[in-house]
């Protein structure tokens, strides 16, 4: 029996095991939504903005490892997901976005709500396809999921014209998929891996540097094994957090621009770098010419373009991180009982790192009057035993969350890394919550980021997604303000956000519990009450607007040249006076 394109769409999604679709209907996808409306196998989450749908699908994908699915209409529906696509492309998130398109006979005519979906999304997708014939639909969907979830994962866009969704064809879902020009390499080159094992054994000051690739590849267990077998300390990028237990004695936490002093110093002094699914982003390397000057580099990545892009790799290994590390561990295990020797041999290196850690640990001073943002974040993590799924937005709060996160499981720290998309956190948290309705999902955000997608409070309320929003309210675009303090003589150009809105009332307007803490003593009771509440909660923490995030490698600086606290000249400035003046000038103040 022949099926319509819309029915083929539904059946294909079922075959792919899709459980939920995030999206908003519109003219050219009505047929598809109509079919989705008449079945119960797939949930449709109606978001309040297409960008929200894209980030929810990302959150879902990052939490589960499965492809997130977005369904939106043509024109503005599609252009509104571009940020989500670009974000997913940068962070290698498996996403399949279905966009409606005007009927094939209208394409190119500037029809109502027409946009060149393929042209617009080309630079921010792993692959995209316009389906011109309903007979190609099932195969195209199969290929889209295959490409999105294999190799280095990424977003794939499938553009479906209206007539393709209404035309009929025989439905047979292809069992196998073969894409001519797409053949990811999974196994590493044996010779290279053997070389790598030799270097790991003889290195004096090795460091394992873990990126997001380790999370996608589910390689946490293998990384722990390498680290323990060869006694190598591990540092993680923002995207890699969770792939090595935060409390492990070999764990150094995050590195990079706001990473630990000790982990950056360890990188700088290392003689061997084992890069695992990481891409030497500029936020990690700092000044390239001074990056790890003494280190030989072993670089394991499934994407050949990541290797030797920014940093020369002495031993490049193209392959899936998990597979390659398993191969590597075979060699490391065969070190004929020399582990204890190795432990002894590496002792000075580990002691050196401990010394750096003791010299400059993460620190803040929580007084009696003003709430420190780090205090809120640290308390939230402690009170939840580092066990929830943490989803952050972008900015200072994100860096503090990363610094204080000690979680031990991959896929429990979800954030927008590469693109740095403010507004990602809250919808992504909803997506993660949809995937795991019974798990605790914390959304660590700020007043700046949250206001880029607050409309999804409606989605949280309607679908009863009990996300706990921890809103670090410092009345500023905090990271921008920090840079203005450090590099622009504290001129707060367009960074002051003020007291608007009243977040508690905003939450209440959506039927969501809103709580507020203004003083240090109120922080814990608010967290306790928020966590106890069964539904979604917005906790508004008013914190010190002038707290800066340290350590910090200034942009263009080398990784060992970290700033550890506010420079003396900044401490002299009456910054609250400046903010007060801003307020008096009428910026960001509640109307009387």
């Amino acid at each position: 029996m022949k099926k319509t394109g819309a029915e083929i769409f539904l059946e294909s999604l079922k075959q792919e095991g899709v459980k939920v679709v995030f999206g908003i209907p519109g003219g050219v996808v009505l047929k598809i939504f109509d079919v989705l409306h008449q079945q119960k196998d797939l949930d449709v989450i109606l978001t309040r903005h297409e960008q929200g749908a894209a980030h929810m699908a990302e959150g879902y994908a990052k939490a589960t490892g499965k492809a997130g699915v977005v369904l939106v209409t043509s024109g503005p529906g599609m252009t509104n997901i571009v940020t989500g696509l670009a974000d997913a492309y940068m962070d290698s998130v498996p996403l399949v976005a279905f966009t409606g398109q005007v009927s094939t006979n209208l394409i190119g005519n500037d029809a109502f709500q027409e946009a060149d979906n393929i042209g617009i999304s080309r630079p921010c997708t792993k692959h995209n396809v316009l389906v011109k014939d309903v007979n190609d639909l099932a195969r195209t969907i199969k290929e889209a999921f295959y490409i999105a979830t294999t190799g280095r994962p990424g977003p794939v866009l499938v553009d479906i014209p209206k007539d393709v969704s209404t035309n009929k064809a025989d439905f047979k879902y292809p069992e196998k998929v073969q894409v001519r020009g797409y053949n990811p390499t999974y196994e590493g080159n044996k010779y290279q891996i053997k070389q790598a094992a030799e270097e790991i054994k003889t290195a004096k000051r090795p460091v394992i540097y873990v990126g997001g690739g380790a999370v996608f590849s589910d390689a946490a267990e293998e990384i722990r094994e390498v680290a323990e077998l060869a006694q190598v300390p591990v540092t993680m990028t923002l995207m890699g957090l969770g792939s090595f237990p935060g409390a492990h004695p070999l764990c150094m936490g995050m590195l990079g621009m706001h990473g630990g002093y000790w982990s950056n110093m360890a990188m700088h002094h290392a003689d061997l770098l084992i890069a695992v699914g990481a891409r030497f982003d500029d936020r990690v390397t700092g000044k390239l010419s001074d990056f790890c000057p003494d280190a030989r580099v072993i670089h394991i990545d499934i994407d050949p373009t990541s290797i030797k892009k920014n940093i020369h790799a002495h031993i490049p290994i193209v392959g899936d991180v998990k597979t390659v590390l398993r191969q590597l561990n075979v060699y490391l295990r065969a070190m004929d009982g020399k582990q204890s020797d190795l432990k002894e041999q590496r002792r000075p290196w580990r002691e050196q790192i401990e010394e750096w850690k003791r010299a400059h640990p993460l620190r803040y001073e929580q007084g009696a009057k003003v709430v420190k943002p780090q205090f809120v974040i640290e308390r939230v993590f402690e009170m939840t035993n580092h066990e929830g799924i943490v989803v952050t937005d972008v900015g200072q709060h994100q860096m503090w969350a990363a610094q204080y996160f000690r979680g031990a499981k991959p896929r429990t720290f979800i954030t927008s890394g590469g693109l740095g998309t403010m507004g990602f956190g809250f919808p992504a948290a909803l997506g993660a919550q949809k995937a795991y309705p019974d798990k605790l999902v914390l959304c660590i955000t700020s007043e700046g980021s949250f206001q880029m997608n607050p409309q999804e409070l409606a989605t949280a309320a309607i679908y009863k997604l009990p996300v706990k929003i921890v809103l670090i309210n410092n009345k500023f675009h905090g990271m921008v303000r920090q840079w203005q303090d450090l590099f622009y003589e504290s001129r707060y150009a367009s960074s002051y956000l003020g007291e608007i809105p009243d977040f508690v009332k905003l939450a209440e307007a959506y039927g969501i519990l809103g709580l507020r803490a203004l003083k240090p003593a109120e922080v814990e009771p608010v967290i306790r009450e928020g966590l106890k509440h069964r539904g979604p909660v917005l906790m508004d923490f008013h914190v010190d607007p002038f707290e800066n995030c340290y350590p910090m490698i200034p942009a263009g600086g080398a990784q060992h040249e970290m700033m550890l606290e506010d420079p003396p000249e900044l401490r002299k400035v009456d910054r609250s006076g400046l903010a007060k003046k801003k307020a008096e000038e009428g910026e960001g103040v509640l109307p009387a």
């Binding site: 393929i118 080309r122 630079p123 792993k126 316009l130 001519r180 020009g181 050949p304 373009t305 030797k308």
Partner: protein, 172 residues
């Protein structure tokens, strides 16, 4: 250094845009580019002439390989290769110059493929040096218009060109 890269792609809409977009987005430069179907009508061959030091060209090749519709990428500059370009050159010909124009064309084994009372159109095929040399000689006569195909190239050996990976595999 100049590199000539052969890119075999699926013959589908948008593939050229993807390849060209990759070059512009990453700041690589394209000196010339030509595309035409191969013997297999489902694939096309793109020949790109680009400039870059070794790490840049290595990235270009990797990035091209990453495009889903790209089937094979070969840096011909690493092999012994043959390259050709065709140019059509329309020149002004005053009566006293018409013989001279034919003589120059003859020297380069170029053909006069169209003629009007005041113009000749010369067709020339050859490597870049030959085409440039002819253009230089015709300049004094007055060039009215010129179109060039950009270069196409092929490996000289009897066997088909190998990819970098195939070469490495053969060595190992």
């Amino acid at each position: 250094m100049e590199h000539i890269i052969s890119v075999q792609v699926e013959n589908k809409a948008g593939v050229l845009a993807r390849v060209a977009g990759l070059f512009s987005a990453r700041g690589y430069n394209i000196e010339s580019l030509s595309v035409a179907p191969t013997l297999d009508p489902t694939t096309s061959m793109i020949t790109i002439v680009t400039q870059g030091d070794d790490p840049v060209v290595e990235q270009i090749i990797k990035q091209l390989n990453k495009v889903i519709e790209v089937l094979k990428v070969v840096d011909l500059t690493e092999t012994n290769f043959l390259d050709r370009e065709t140019a059509l050159i329309k020149i002004h010909t005053r009566p006293e110059h018409r013989d001279e124009a034919i003589r120059i064309a003859d020297i380069f084994r170029a053909k006069i493929v169209d003629s009007s009372p005041t113009t000749y159109t010369v067709e020339v095929t050859g490597d870049v040096d030959k085409v440039e040399a002819l253009i230089n000689l015709l300049k004094p006569l007055g060039i009215k218009e010129i179109v060039r195909t950009g270069r196409v190239a092929i490996a000289r050996e009897a066997a088909k060109v190998q990819t970098r990976r195939e070469i490495q595999a053969a060595k190992a």
